[in-house]
């Protein structure tokens, strides 16, 4: 594989959905620590393999949805998740050859104990 191809490794956005803090309310401090360690070890493995390109936590319990009404007025509502149970709590940006590899990277994520991971390929101009 030549260098140009290497740098053009496809990127994938991993959207971590869960039901937020209530899931963890009854965990003991020890259990909470173990869960954190699992997440960190998972992230560490991806970083060590050069796959991890970034990660951010999104603020829970807030957000805005913009929409234009039929008359052309801008509507701003709270959301988008008022009626859905699972929300995107945060995201990772990873490198992988294809969806299969991206899915493999997620397979041992501790997040799957609490929620789901949506994998979306980043589109590139080409």
């Amino acid at each position: 594989m030549d260098e140009r191809r290497m740098t053009a490794m496809p990127q994938f956005l991993l959207l971590l959905r869960d039901q937020g803090a209530p899931v963890f309310e009854n965990l003991s401090p020890e259990e909470i620590q173990r869960v954190i360690e699992k997440y960190m070890q998972w992230g560490e493995r991806l970083r060590a393999a050069g796959k991890m390109k970034g990660s951010e936590k999104l603020r829970d319990g807030e957000g805005r949805v913009l929409a234009r009404s039929a008359k052309g007025a801008m509507n701003v509502t709270d959301g988008p998740y008022a009626e859905t149970k699972e929300v995107v709590g945060g995201f990772y940006l990873v490198e992988a050859a294809d969806y299969d590899e991206a899915a493999r990277l997620c397979a041992d994520s501790p997040h799957l104990d609490f929620g789901t991971i949506e994998i979306r390929a980043v589109e590139v101009l080409g």
Binding site: N26, I36, Q41, K57
Partner: protein
């Protein structure tokens, strides 16, 4: 070997939740203990939500304390319960530095523990509350350790907190006249917690070890505090350390329990034994000889022996006599019978056991038939021993103990088989 990545300090969250709760209980007042616990729990969950994405902050404990304080401030400003007191509470919370001095933290924990042991709180609630608030254990963990239902444990904690509110208990040290009794009560709770973890009635080994370790940690705080320490406190800590030093050697390479006889003494924890010995020396200072003193002396004898055979059983037997004089109990007599059998032979031990066999307190105590089987085995009566082990196996015990007994039973059956062809071949279980 690959370095474990993403590993936090062992039990960081458990020990820090206990510390933070104790400090916040001081700042918010003991009537708001529940709020203290809640904001601490919220700070830990906040860490769970953020750290996987942002990494661990440079000073994780300061971060956790700050988050917990901010949460407490929010609640104080929002909740009308605090109306009138909000300003003052908020000022107190904001003025304190995020990372307290170690002495302050120890002091906070000791005061909270002593309050948890107030005689106005029922004993079972005292234990549950101490483990929850100071020990950082969850209701589920406490329930698992003490073989109780989680709702029962939760109820005990509710009762304790109600007592704190209704009797307006404070975190002040009790007056001099009451202090010794309160510390005694605390030591009793700590030892109970330790032995609950050590005796392993059921459940996960790791959790039970945490329980014992936590009891040791808290006992160290008591011993190190000049206002609270006493020869008796040293004795309790020495006893815990002696037993804990042998903890790992109790489990064989196959994960099964080993008898004292099978244990490799070189696997005992030398550092802990030395610490135990120094506290044992500290325990001799006073005139009082408590149950803990004698038990620590027995544990010391075991620890000093190079192996099972060279144990000074005569000395241990006489220490059991001392223990019986302080606290006469059939369980102590059973232990004495084991030591006596080592000095005088199985016959004497069996006679002792016969004398206590009918005691109601031992009706469901599997160690009675198990010990009898052990001694009969030593006499060479494999058939009678097998019957005893079978009887023992009908009584409650944990899985590790059950496996050990099955092993012994099988040994009896094999031996009976090789000696006499009249016995039918043993059925394997």
């Amino acid at each position: 070997m690959v370095e474990p990545v993403g590993q936090l300090v062992d039990h960081l969250f458990r020990s820090h939740s206990g510390r933070m709760v104790a400090t916040l209980a001081r700042l918010l007042g003991p009537a708001n203990l529940t709020l203290a616990e809640e904001v601490v729990q919220e700070s830990l969950i906040r860490a769970l939500e953020l750290w996987p994405f942002h990494g661990v902050p440079e000073n994780p404990t300061a971060w956790l304390v700050q988050v917990a304080k901010n949460r407490a401030l929010d609640e104080i400003r929002r909740n009308r319960v605090f109306a009138g007191k909000a300003e003052q509470l908020a000022a107190t919370l904001s003025s304190t530095v995020p990372a307290e001095e170690p002495e302050t933290i120890a002091d906070d924990q000791l005061r909270l523990m002593l309050m948890c042991c107030h005689p106005g709180i029922p004993r079972e609630s005292q234990i549950a509350l101490t483990l929850k608030s100071v020990g950082g254990f969850s209701v589920e963990e406490i329930a698992a350790a003490f073989l109780a239902d989680p709702p029962t444990v939760a109820q005990r904690i509710v009762r304790a907190k109600r007592a704190i509110r209704e009797q307006a208990l404070s975190l002040d040290l009790p007056p001099r006249t009451e202090l010794a009794a309160r510390v005694d009560s605390l030591l009793e709770i700590l030892y109970l917690t330790f032995s609950e973890g050590y005796s392993a009635h059921s459940g996960e080994w790791s959790l039970r070890r945490d329980l014992s370790d936590e009891a040791i940690r808290l006992a160290r705080l008591v011993v190190a505090d000049p206002r609270l320490t006493s020869p008796k406190a040293h004795a309790v800590l020495a006893l815990m350390l002696f037993q804990s030093a042998r903890g790992d050697a109790r489990i064989g390479s196959d994960g099964n329990l080993l008898t004292l006889e099978e244990q490799d003494h070189s696997r005992w924890d030398g550092v802990k034994l030395r610490e135990a010995m120094s506290h044992f020396e500290g325990s001799i200072a006073g005139d009082e000889i408590s149950e803990y003193h004698v038990q620590a002396a027995i544990a010391a004898e075991h620890s000093l022996a190079r192996d099972y055979a060279s144990t000074n059983w005569a000395r241990i037997t006489s220490l059991y006599d001392d223990l019986l004089a302080i606290s006469p109990s059939p369980v102590v007599r059973l232990n004495r019978a084991v030591a006596l059998a080592m000095v005088e032979g199985a016959e004497s031990g069996l006679r002792e056991i016969e004398a206590i066999a009918g005691h109601p307190q031992l009706r469901n105590y599997y160690l009675l038939p198990a010990t009898r089987g052990e001694l009969r085995m030593r006499q060479g009566d494999a058939a009678a021993a097998a019957a005893d082990f079978r009887r023992a196996l009908e009584l409650p015990m944990n899985d590790a103990e059950r496996r050990l007994l099955h092993k012994k039973l099988q040994l009896c059956l094999d031996q009976g088989d090789s000696r006499s062809t009249r016995h039918p071949s043993p059925s394997r279980r």
